[in-house]
């Protein structure tokens, strides 16, 4: 089986079958990542297709400094951000910040509510923090991979991730919702995936 970089060389020479193989290899992981970013399958399909088309058009720009996968994901993540921006899904009105969490707090929380509140808080994070957080938690990517995809230094990727989590904690604490979140967490078994250490507290 040829390595990605060998396939890229063939694509640069005009071999579309080699590109077809790259699509087969990466389409599933890419679509999964983008679905979790945009939370809409139709939009994720559009973004994934567009990312592959852009990668094909600009294949001569790929110099192999990072992996092809990281490069492709970088294109896809940027495309997703642009799509979200253009569809105004990211619009956050200042006076609405924390409204979701506060409303949930008032009516009492069940599992679904607390998760919805958590999702909304994630969506309110600044772009870079949200991306780092989703790539790390949803996709279980290393900070090195995240840095490559976000085109930033390793420490910046990590800092964005940390700040995102800290902001979420701060909002939940302000609204006295940490206990519900912990309760919700205790009600299911957390898988011990790579890079995520579970400690008995």
């Amino acid at each position: 089986m040829k390595a990605d970089i060998e396939l890229v060389t063939l694509v640069k020479d005009g071999d579309t079958d080699a590109f077809s193989e790259l699509v087969r290899r990466h389409q599933q992981a890419l679509l999964r990542t983008i679905v979790r970013m945009v939370r809409d399958l139709d939009l994720a399909e559009d973004v994934t297709q567009e990312a592959f088309i852009k990668a094909y058009q600009k294949i001569h720009l790929f110099e192999g400094r990072a992996s092809f996968k990281s490069w492709l994901f970088q294109i896809a993540v940027n495309t997703a951000k642009n799509k979200l921006r253009s569809s105004k899904r990211e619009t956050v009105e200042i006076d609405k910040v924390n409204v979701a969490v506060s409303a949930q707090a008032e009516k009492g929380l069940v599992h679904q509510d607390i998760q919805e509140a958590l999702i909304e808080e994630v969506e309110r994070l600044p772009d870079k923090q949200r991306t780092a957080l989703k790539l790390r938690i949803y996709e279980d990517l290393s900070f090195k991979e995240i840095a490559q995809i976000m085109d930033c230094p390793y420490d910046t990727a990590k800092a964005n991730y940390r700040h995102g989590l800290m902001k979420i904690r701060s909002v939940f604490k302000e609204n006295d919702l940490m206990r519900s979140l912990i309760q919700n967490y205790d009600d299911f078994v957390v898988p011990q995936g790579a890079g995520h250490s579970e400690v008995k507290t």
Binding site: S20, Q27, Y56, F143, K158
Partner: protein, 186 residues
């Protein structure tokens, strides 16, 4: 026992992510049972992460082979109607070329300054040679931009040209100087 209060809470995120030096990690593990405050912070982050993992897994993503065969075919149908950007176009976007273009622009500015100096001073043979060589450099840099970063004049050389022009103006009589300024004004 509440434990050290001056620990940055982000250290517990690094702890969960396994991003700490093993010895520091061991120290923190020893600390946890004795520090209510830090234990609480750790628990908070674990629950946020755990809940988010659950949320991520709850988003439905297609997995069946037929779906992805179809998806692959749709992508490839679009690829077949897409033109790959030529390597020449791609090279235009590379930083090296940007630097070369900036170099050429700098040459044009300095070259025209040298040319004007030669003309202002009556086109004496030495000045004309300078102008000729600057033109040669300009032509060469347009033909071969790769050489530009190696041949641009340094700021010191620019100063030298300005000094030479000032010296020549100093040596002129009042009348000659007036003629030069009149030509400049024209």
């Amino acid at each position: 026992m509440s434990g050290p209060r001056d620990l940055d809470e982000s250290i517990w995120i690094d702890y969960i992510e396994d991003e700490l030096d093993p010895s520091l990690r061991d120290d923190l593990t020893t600390l946890i049972p004795h520090s209510g405050e830090n234990k609480e912070i750790l628990k908070d982050y674990q629950s946020i992460r755990g809940n988010l993992e659950k949320v991520g897994k709850a988003i439905e993503v297609p997995t069946d082979e037929n779906y992805f065969n179809d998806f692959h075919d749709r992508i490839m149908a679009r690829v077949k109607n897409t033109k790959m950007q030529s390597p020449v176009v791609v090279r235009l976007f590379q930083k090296r070329v940007y630097r070369a273009v900036a170099g050429v622009a700098l040459f044009l500015i300095i070259g025209s300054a040298i040319w004007n100096t030669a003309n202002l001073t009556g086109g004496k043979p030495g000045d004309i040679e300078v102008a000729k060589s600057s033109n040669w450099l300009l032509e060469s840099s347009v033909k071969n931009p790769e050489m530009v970063p190696n041949t641009v004049l340094t700021p010191g050389e620019t100063d030298m040209v300005m000094d030479a022009a000032a010296e020549k103006l100093d040596k002129m009589s009042e009348k000659e100087r007036e003629q030069v300024f009149r030509r400049l004004a024209d």
